[in-house]
């Protein structure tokens, strides 16, 4: 009895040994010829793209459209931000000075205000320059020009205030400039008491533009992120549908003993080809679309230089690469996820 039991155990052990040996051999043959396998995967991927031309075209078009939408979102955000920045740049603080100040006084005031690190530039015009500006502004108006005889001119220059136009880096924080203008002895003396500096007047405008710029920047990032997610979802759904219609193929390949990587590979290659073509189409359409729109947008005072600089330099190739790269990555990820669903079913 014990002998029979012993025999049985011996047989079991032998069977286990033989099985494990066979399985090891199978695993080894699986790792053979990776380059040959890869070239077959690429070949069948490319063939699959051609043989499923309708599905491939649909997926490519959807990918191209979503990539274009993504580009439009990013461009809109950049344009809005740079336009807001440009408008902020145009804002200056005007400090009205007493009439008839000497060049030396003006120079001293200039030095003092420039000592503030927030000051970007200062433009000073004395009474005579202000008078010249007045003349230029009223050039067509004969009624005014005709009454300006020498006496009148001298009187006007004497009454004309000099001005300081101060441009700042940060329009949100004018406290340091305010401090100089209100507390410095020279400024207290030379600033016109009756006409207050414009920083209070511009405050509302500054706040509006600042908030616009902030909205443009953060909103643009959020919107681009949202569109990126939507794009991925749309592309994923399209590729998933394409693979869903071919789930039987995946099952068949599994049944005849194909390795997962060998089944998955051609689907990934197909999706990558879709991504590549979609990237090329999207980049080309976006480029020509922007070239067409840019002068029209610029005519409305919208700052498009940030994008124009990229598209009209040798960075254009980089833009193409980004589009193609995005297309390939999104396509590959989507296909991988979609195939895995059917591949992991037993």
């Amino acid at each position: 009895m014990a002998e029979t039991e012993e025999k049985k155990v011996g047989k079991e052990k032998k069977l286990k040994r033989v099985t494990k040996k066979s399985l090891r051999t199978m695993q080894r043959t699986k790792q053979h010829h990776p380059i040959r396998n890869q070239s077959r995967i690429v070949k069948y991927g490319a063939k699959g793209f051609g043989r499923n031309i309708w599905l491939s075209t649909a997926a490519t078009v959807v990918m191209a459209i979503t990539l274009i939408i993504l580009f439009v979102t990013v461009v809109a955000s950049v344009i809005l931000t740079s336009t807001a920045e440009m408008m902020k740049d145009k804002i200056d603080i005007t400090i009205y000075l007493k009439p008839g100040l000497s060049e030396q006084v003006l120079s001293e005031l200039d030095t003092k205000i420039k000592s503030d690190s927030n000051v970007k530039s200062v433009e000073i015009s004395n009474s005579e320059e202000e008078y010249a500006k007045f003349l230029a502004e009223n050039e067509g108006s004969d009624e005014i020009i005709n009454i300006l005889d020498d006496e009148m001119k001298a009187l006007m220059i004497a009454k004309m205030q000099g001005t300081m136009r101060v441009k700042v880096y940060d329009v949100d924080d004018l406290s340091s400039i305010k401090k100089i203008v209100e507390e410095d002895e020279d400024f207290k003396f030379y600033v016109d008491k009756e006409k207050a500096p414009t920083y209070d007047v511009n405050q509302a405008e500054i706040a509006t533009i600042t908030s616009w710029a902030r909205i443009a920047r953060t909103g643009g990032i959020i919107l681009a992120a949202v569109f990126l997610v939507i794009s991925i979802l749309i592309i994923f759904s399209t590729i998933r549908m394409a693979i869903f219609s071919r789930r039987e193929e995946i099952y068949m390949m599994k049944l005849v003993g194909a390795e997962k990587s060998f089944i998955r590979g051609p689907f990934l290659v197909e999706a990558e080809i879709c991504g590549l073509i979609a990237g090329l189409i999207a980049a080309t359409v976006s480029y020509f679309g922007f070239e067409f729109m840019a002068p029209r947008l610029a005519s409305y005072g919208i700052d498009v230089t940030a994008i124009t600089n990229i598209l009209e330099s040798n960075k254009l190739i980089l833009v193409y690469l980004v589009f193609i790269g995005l297309g390939i990555i999104i396509g590959r990820l989507s296909a991988r996820l979609a195939v895995s669903k059917y591949l992991n079913k037993s």
Binding site: G48, R246, Y251, M252, V256, A258
Partner: protein, 267 residues
């Protein structure tokens, strides 16, 4: 070559087990019909062999491999050692006949040169060399099944299992397919065929294993006869004139007589 020892499988939600303590031993080079009505457990048994399903209990050894040790990662390699033919052919619809057969060799890592040498030979065996560039949908059911057989034998497996290979085919094509399987068996491949077509079983005179309600109810080693109602009948009891005639004709190398008496209708 194929050994099942007390294999039991019960699907969740079912009252009865699909396989109830099934034991079966198939020797190398045997040709075995596995017969029984729908729901008898034939397909479940096939799925056990292809490792699509795992048994709840019992042991399965195929070609010296104990399936208990075959893990998920081993399954593709294990399946490549088998030839499998399906009722619905399971051909890759977007690949040509040539590519379908080549696929079986490519997944085994065979070189392009070897594939170019092997595929035409296999297609010649199934008489489809002239259809190599066609897609499955351009072929008839019989031709598709021949492609499926070509794909399964391309790697020269020691075991070929065919799940209802003739279910979707007409009488003439069915005979062609069975003759093809017979030819493959003559080359030394062990063949297990499930069917509920009594004609092919009774004409070929091979071992017949009959299943009912998840159990093997009869195992007739030679000249097995199968009745459509699933009742196993010993060969010596039913001696139909048709069989005798056929055997004689085969010996003489002639076609069977067209005037042979009508076979007794089996209910």
């Amino acid at each position: 070559m194929i050994l099942l020892d007390s294999v039991t499988k019960k699907y969740p939600g079912d009252d009865k087990p699909a396989l109830d303590s099934v034991s079966l031993h198939i020797e190398p080079n045997e040709f075995v019909f596995l017969v029984g009505k729908s729901g008898a457990g034939k397909s479940t048994l096939m799925k056990m062999i292809t490792k699509e399903e795992n048994p709840d209990s019992g042991k399965i050894i195929i070609g010296g491999i104990d399936l208990d040790y075959v893990k998920k990662r081993h399954i593709p390699g294990y399946r490549r050692r088998l030839g499998v033919v399906f009722q619905d052919f399971k051909l890759l619809p977007r690949r040509t006949v040539y590519e379908n057969v080549a696929f079986a060799l490519e997944i085994a890592g065979m070189s392009g040169k070897e594939i170019r040498r092997t595929v035409p030979k296999v297609l010649e065996l199934v008489d489809l060399l002239d259809q190599a560039k066609k897609f499955p949908h351009q072929l008839s059911g019989g031709q598709q099944q021949r492609v499926s057989i070509a794909r399964s034998v391309a790697r020269q497996p020691k075991i070929l299992i065919a799940d209802e290979p003739t279910a979707n085919l007409d009488k003439l094509t069915t005979q062609e397919i069975i003759q093809l399987l017979k030819k493959i068996n003559d080359f030394g491949t062990t063949i297990l065929v499930t069917t509920h077509n009594e004609n092919i079983v009774n004409n070929l005179q091979k071992r017949v294993v009959t299943m009912r309600d998840g159990k093997i109810i009869s195992d007739q080693k030679n000249n097995g006869i199968y009745k459509l109602d699933g009742t196993p009948t010993p060969a010596r009891v039913v001696q139909m004139p048709g069989h005798a005639l056929k055997r004689q004709s085969a010996v003489a190398g002639q076609a069977p007589s067209q005037t042979r008496p009508q076979r007794r209708k089996v209910i």
